[in-house]
């Protein structure tokens, strides 16, 4: 039921709403769409918000424009899911001068002055990389292959994106702990299934002893699965497949036995951001860094969890 709002006399209604300008990256993946939906469902008028949504279509220029327009519209808060980490000084300075707090979602930004943003909400890509390696180590132990030579290939995301940079970094940081693992090759599959498939085909022809595929998102993992099948091998059995994001389709693949694990990257940032805004409204201090909860989902749990996946 509509929450009873103080002074809800219709006329001043708009004024009582907290206006949030939200500069989203785009709709380039299911993950992103789920992320958007999470905001759109959180910041509704019933909850006391008015959301001004801008979709940058993966272009930083567009986000910069959007923020400038938010400032002109005198919004109360700006939520920014930056396309890239660089180049935010100028426009965030303008927001600061206008006295509008900026909350970052998903990706971090690279600025020398921390005060340009109030808080950051997101997943930890590097940690996801760590989780991936740890899970693999555990799984190999389970299989009794802990001491074998293990050959790994990585399908990287779009080079330069924070997910790619973070996940690659996370995996690489943990690799030295396992001297018997070889990273045979890394190549970008640009986060898409078809590129992932094409690159995997090429890997399979170059190396005939691949044990593990780490795909930096689930879509590329699906492409890899097809390529492996085409090469006459059994994905999930002959070759261990790990993906990131844990979208619903990944659970389906795991249930089908084609995939072994997906590391979650939680898109539901909306409620967290609302929490921060509520605190700020009350005049409380907020922490800078807010991680969302993220898990690791192996195939063995897939069937159990699939119905509870919201995206």
């Amino acid at each position: 039921e509509p929450a009873s709002k103080p002074g809800g006399d219709g006329k001043g209604k708009d004024n009582d709403l907290i206006v949030v300008g939200y500069a989203q990256v785009g709709a380039e993946s299911d993950w992103r769409t789920a992320n958007t939906v999470s905001f759109q469902e959180t910041f509704v008028e019933e909850n006391g918000y008015k959301l001004i949504f801008d979709d940058a279509q993966q272009k930083q220029e567009n986000q910069i424009k959007a923020i400038r327009n938010f400032i002109q519209q005198d919004v109360d808060y700006i939520v920014l899911a930056p396309v890239v980490e660089t180049g935010w000084e100028t426009v965030l300075e303008e927001a600061k001068e206008a006295g509008i707090p900026v909350i970052l979602s998903d990706r971090m930004i690279d600025v020398s002055d921390d005060s340009l943003y109030t808080a950051w909400v997101g997943g930890n890509f590097v940690k996801e990389g760590h989780d991936c390696v740890d899970w693999l180590a555990g799984y190999l132990e389970e299989l009794g292959r802990a001491d074998e030579e293990i050959n790994i290939v990585t399908l990287q995301g779009t080079i330069g994106s924070s997910a790619q940079v973070g996940r690659t970094k996370g995996v690489e940081e943990k690799l030295p702990e396992h001297p018997n693992w070889n990273m045979l090759d890394k190549q970008t599959g640009e986060f898409t299934q078809s590129k992932g498939q094409e690159v995997m085909e090429s890997f399979l022809k170059s190396y005939d002893d691949i044990d593990v595929v780490i795909a930096e998102n689930d879509n590329m993992a699906f492409g890899a699965i097809d390529a492996i099948k085409a090469a006459g091998k059994d994905p999930g059995e002959d070759i261990i497949i790990i993906g990131f994001d844990a979208v619903k389709a990944a659970f389906e693949a795991m249930i089908a036995g084609d995939m072994n694990c997906s590391v979650e990257c939680n898109p539901l940032h909306g409620p967290r951001v609302a929490e921060i805004i509520q605190k700020l409204e009350k005049g409380e201090e907020v922490e800078k860094t807010w991680y969302v909860d993220e898990g690791v989902f192996p195939a063995s749990e897939a069937a159990k969890l699939i119905d509870s996946r919201p995206y």
Binding site: N69, E85, I100
Partner: protein
């Protein structure tokens, strides 16, 4: 009535007037529709320039190339390469801002020179040459660095963030201060390039040769112009402007990354076309292109102010407005019966 008016002035001026009128109408509509959202503030208008400084340079340059009968679809990649190179030089190699800028401009010129050679002297189609150029520059960007590089160079940031205030048109912001409208130096660069090219195209031999070559290459040759050299110059200058556009773009985004400015060339082309430039060459002017940029910017501002459109609708709405514009121009501008038109030789 329109017909009579059209007979009086030449058709291209007529098209330009249409474009300008449409822009003004559109802007007024915006002010009325988004009354309560302060669309009418001077700063909203200036933001069109601030956010599109690089595009202004690129569109002006694109206009010149299109007038010459060519096309350049490598501009976006060159912009990305320039940003990356600037960032890499300043951040990773500790090169000062001035030498860095000089280097990227020189690289732009060399890049343009090679494209020009292939187009003018080997007569390879501009679309293909610049398509290769597009691939090349994008790939080079990745070769320079696959990581994002953020520019922290103080001198650079100082230029990027230097606000040039106007003494009027201010408004009171939420903290109670009066904010006067302002622009950044990048806007100034864009406007200088615009003025420069306006004069070059109208008042220099080189400029007129561009029109002649675009109008009919064979004729221009027979009339005694050096067609090849003209084209080469166009692409060299265009290379320079592409790099300059990269610099201006970089002032706005202060960083370099591989995916930067994707599709930028299409924006530049669209702006030129909205401004009345023909892709077939020989027709167009930079004033129109500026309005092309402003119209594109206004459409985007509409969408932000509207505030609920998701990505797909944004794309569709932009395309629909683009379509509306092009079709309207075509309908209003056409029906001039061209009699005894001189043949386009091959």
């Amino acid at each position: 009535m329109i017909r009579r008016f059209r007979e009086k002035i030449d058709p291209n001026t007529f098209l330009l007037l249409i474009t300008i009128t449409l822009f003004v109408l559109m802007y007024i509509a915006g002010i009325l529709i988004f009354r309560d959202k302060h669309f009418g503030r001077v700063q909203v208008f200036l933001n069109l320039f601030i956010s599109n400084g690089g595009l202004i340079v690129a569109a002006v340059s694109m206009t010149m190339v299109l007038i010459s009968g060519g096309i350049d679809i490598s501009i976006g990649s060159v912009v990305a390469m320039t940003c990356m190179l600037l960032a890499w030089m300043m951040e990773k190699q500790n090169i000062g801002i001035i030498p860095a800028i000089i280097v990227v401009l020189i690289i732009g010129v060399i890049f343009g020179f090679f494209q020009g050679l292939l187009i003018a002297y080997l007569k390879i189609q501009p679309f293909i040459v610049t398509l290769a150029g597009m691939f090349f520059a994008r790939g080079m960007t990745a070769i320079i660095s696959t990581d994002m590089i953020s520019i922290k160079n103080e001198a650079f940031l100082k230029i990027a963030n230097a606000k040039l205030y106007f003494p009027f048109g201010g408004y009171v912001n939420r903290s109670g201060d009066i904010v006067y409208p302002y622009i950044y130096p990048s806007v100034v660069i864009g406007l200088v390039v615009l003025l420069l090219m306006f004069f070059v195209l109208k008042y220099s031999k080189f400029g007129r040769s561009i029109y002649a070559v675009g109008g009919n290459e064979q004729s221009a040759l027979l009339l005694g112009l050096n067609v090849r050299l003209t084209k080469l110059k166009v692409y060299v200058l265009n290379g320079f402007f592409a790099a300059l556009a990269g610099f201006v773009f970089c002032l706005n985004t202060s960083g370099g990354f591989v995916e930067q400015a994707k599709g930028f060339e299409m924006e530049a082309i669209a702006s030129s076309v909205i401004g009345g430039t023909l892709l077939t060459g020989g027709v167009g002017n930079v004033i129109g292109s500026i309005f092309g940029v402003l119209i594109k910017g206004t459409i985007e501002t509409f969408i932000t102010f509207q505030g609920t459109l998701s990505s797909w609708w944004t794309k569709i709405v932009i395309a629909a407005l683009l379509c509306f514009f092009i079709v309207l121009q075509s309908i209003l501008g056409s029906s001039k019966d061209k009699k005894g038109k001189i043949s386009k030789d091959h």
